[in-house]
Amino acid sequence: MSMLSVRGVTKRFGGVTAVDDVSFEVFEGTIHAVIGPNGAGKSTAFNVMTGFDRPDAGSVVFEGATITGMRPHRIVRLGVVRTFQNTMLFDEMTALENVLVGMHARTRVGFLGAALSLPGVHAEERLAREQAHRILRLVDMDDVHAVPAGDLPHGQRRLLEIARALATEPRIMLLDEPAAGLNNVETAQLGETLRRIRDTGVTVVIVEHDMGLVMEVSDEIVVLNEGRKIAEGPPLLIQKDPAVIEAYLGEETPDA
């Protein structure tokens, strides 16, 4: 059985049908790519899958439970986390604090407990900080733990958002263009990081324009164009698919 299934999802904005009756399945332990030209509806599909948009039709099912209509924070608590095409970091907070916020749903201390320093508050805080440092080391960023996110270079901001998402202890991660703005070296490292994440048992879905990265890391690819699913399959088949090549014509070739 699939881990996450998108079933006949349609999302309209006024006259524009951003996502048009799209269905696909994501299987546990895989890296699944969603590709397509600009405006194909990839980000909108992610928004629907993570509760940031409500679909006009269709549903999203995660491990047997329908999550459409749930608010984003509830979906995160179930184990579905995402990053954004335009990073949504907390710029005034340090890298470490950003990751600590990612642990919000996995920790307990509330206003009263924190205010009164009830028993357990210190222990939880210390454990959370240790864990946050460990996650930062995973993406090679522990040396900048005290730097405000707003002062980090672009590549590290992308990584930090992934680290923050990992901190929620997800079962599945949806990454919206994680390689956007990265140089070749950084993109290669990102590919490594994605595989490492998958190997720790977290399923990965990426929206990505960098075809080199997509073809290298993904097990399965879904291609959207103008809101519709036009192809789906393993990288080698997608590269040769005439409908895909047609969709990308005049923009970029999928095997670029």
Partner: protein, 337 residues
Amino acid sequence: MRSSIRAAVIVALTIGVAITPFVMTDRYILRILTFVGINLIMVAGLSLLFGYAGQISLGQAAFYGLGAYTSGYLAKAGVPWLLALVGGVAVAAIGGLLIALPSLRLKGHYLAMATLGFGEIMLFFFTETESVTGGSNGLRGIPAASIGPLEFATPVAKYFLVWSVVGIVLVLAANIVRRRPGRALRAIHGSETGAQACGIDTVRVKIQVFVLSAGLGGLAGVLYAHYVGFVSPSTFTLHYSLILVTMVALGGMGSLGGAVAGTVLLTLLPYVDAIIPGLPRSTVELIQDWTNDIYGMVLILVMLFMPRGLAGWATSLVTRFGERDRAGDSVGQGGGA
């Protein structure tokens, strides 16, 4: 490095607050300092709401009024002070909940408008329900605070009562901001979408902090009512709400220590003559005549040129000294309190 400077400042201030009534026999100054304390309790709540979570409220004076009137009314009816206090805080907090539920789904200007409207409605209510509030004449003869046989009747006793509460409130608030709930507040300020993506129920947290700030406003109102023994609508105006916002902004968003500094400075401003005795008469008159304009100017200037307020300025000073001492030893304390 930074945390040791902070600790030293806190210890010095605490000692200063504790010995002031013994070295300062001037009743007038003690009275001013008690008002500083009451404002600090107001601002502690607003700092969490506005300074940390970035949610503006232009209606804090209304919660101050709810606390003051409720507790004053109850105490006059013979209710023991501690119970009247609980009643005042509860009514203010419930008022906060009622306004938070519909309006915290609103953003930015809409929240400002909603809280402003609430403040004006409450002001109307304080003025018009004469049988309860005494109307524009106010509620007179409110008894001094007392706990059992212990009565806070003298200026020194009142001073210590208010400042004990200030101490407690600031410690609790500082505990909040450096832990998980404080990070959630700052996250909401930084990016509400990002906060949701981290599993934070942003609506719930915003309601919690709004109710908390309303309750603290109510607490300050209770202390005020039993301090002056008299409350009237003219205290609970939009004007006061705006001054509170200015205090937080001057101190610096996301800094409790900054908010404290901003509150002390702006509360003392109209009383410069009492605080700095040698000041020329003309200067004092200038400041007193223009106090409200100065508040307005401070708010505008801070927003334009000092977005991080006094706290940002202090941090950059300390960092500069710290770097000279030992380079690269950045303390990941967080909270920025």
